[in-house]
């Protein structure tokens, strides 16, 4: 499974757009890019998943360039409740689907 690299921490202010970039240089053809969010004392929560170009849902957008070696999670107009750890994962489409979590990005949203 491809290794991912993302910033350890980020700060933002309420109402701003936050972009968290993840690099996955060794991504394979049948791998997907998936993002999870985790609040303290809770299990992770699925945010969004994509293969290429752009995916948008009610929570976030995911931008994936043509070479797929990186991806950017975009959170529009963050609020204090978006303070959490965000994990970028590469999920193989041809294995058991087990998730390999890195250290994640701790996002701190300030008032």
């Amino acid at each position: 499974l491809a290794k991912t690299t993302q910033p350890i921490s980020m700060d933002s202010y309420e109402g701003q757009e936050v972009n968290i970039t993840c690099s996955h240089n060794n991504i394979a053809t049948n791998d997907y890019i998936t993002w999870y969010q985790q609040f303290p004392s809770q299990g992770p929560r699925f945010i969004i998943q994509g293969y290429k170009t752009k995916v948008t849902n009610e929570v976030a957008s995911l931008f994936i360039p043509a070479d797929r070696k990186s991806s950017t999670l975009s959170l529009p107009r963050v609020s204090l409740s978006d303070t959490a750890v965000y994990y970028c994962l590469v999920v193989s489409g041809s294995n058991t689907g087990k998730l390999i979590f890195g250290q994640g990005t701790t996002l701190q949203v300030k008032p």
Binding site: Y32, T34, S41, Q42, G43, P44, R45, F46, Q49, Y87, L89, V91, G93, N95, T96, G97, K98, L99, I100, F101, G102, Q103, G104
Partner: protein
């Protein structure tokens, strides 16, 4: 509908004792996963079930750890002769199964403390 549930929510045990952790997945989810998260660390995969079989046990840290799943539903993770390094939050997740493995639904976890 009901999400993934786990019990107990907290467990304190003495070193050397056995513990059983339970996971009730979302109804209809054929895939079930166990992970653990040590304090301040990321999640570590332990074992994966598809139905009642466990095709991937590669994450179990030692032979003191075992897991089973019955009726394609409830799963139990057993840790024998617990050690202090087993202290962690044990998380269970379920999904519709391959190829939907990317979207997994996690339970609240069981916090295990070995004294």
């Amino acid at each position: 509908g009901a999400g993934v549930s786990q019990s107990p929510s907290n467990k304190v045990t003495e070193k050397g004792k056995d513990v059983e952790l339970r996971c009730d997945p979302i109804s209809g989810h054929t895939a079930l996963y166990w992970y653990r998260q040590s304090l301040g660390q990321g999640l570590e995969f332990l074992i994966y079930f598809q139905g009642n079989s466990a095709p991937d046990k590669s994450g179990l840290p030692s032979d003191r750890f075992s897991a089973e799943r019955t009726g394609g539903s409830v799963s139990t993770l057993t840790i024998q002769r617990t050690q202090q390094e087993d202290s962690a939050v044990y998380l269970c997740a379920s999904s519709l199964g391959y190829p939907y493995g990317g979207e997994q639904y996690f339970g609240p976890g069981t916090r295990l403390t070995v004294t």
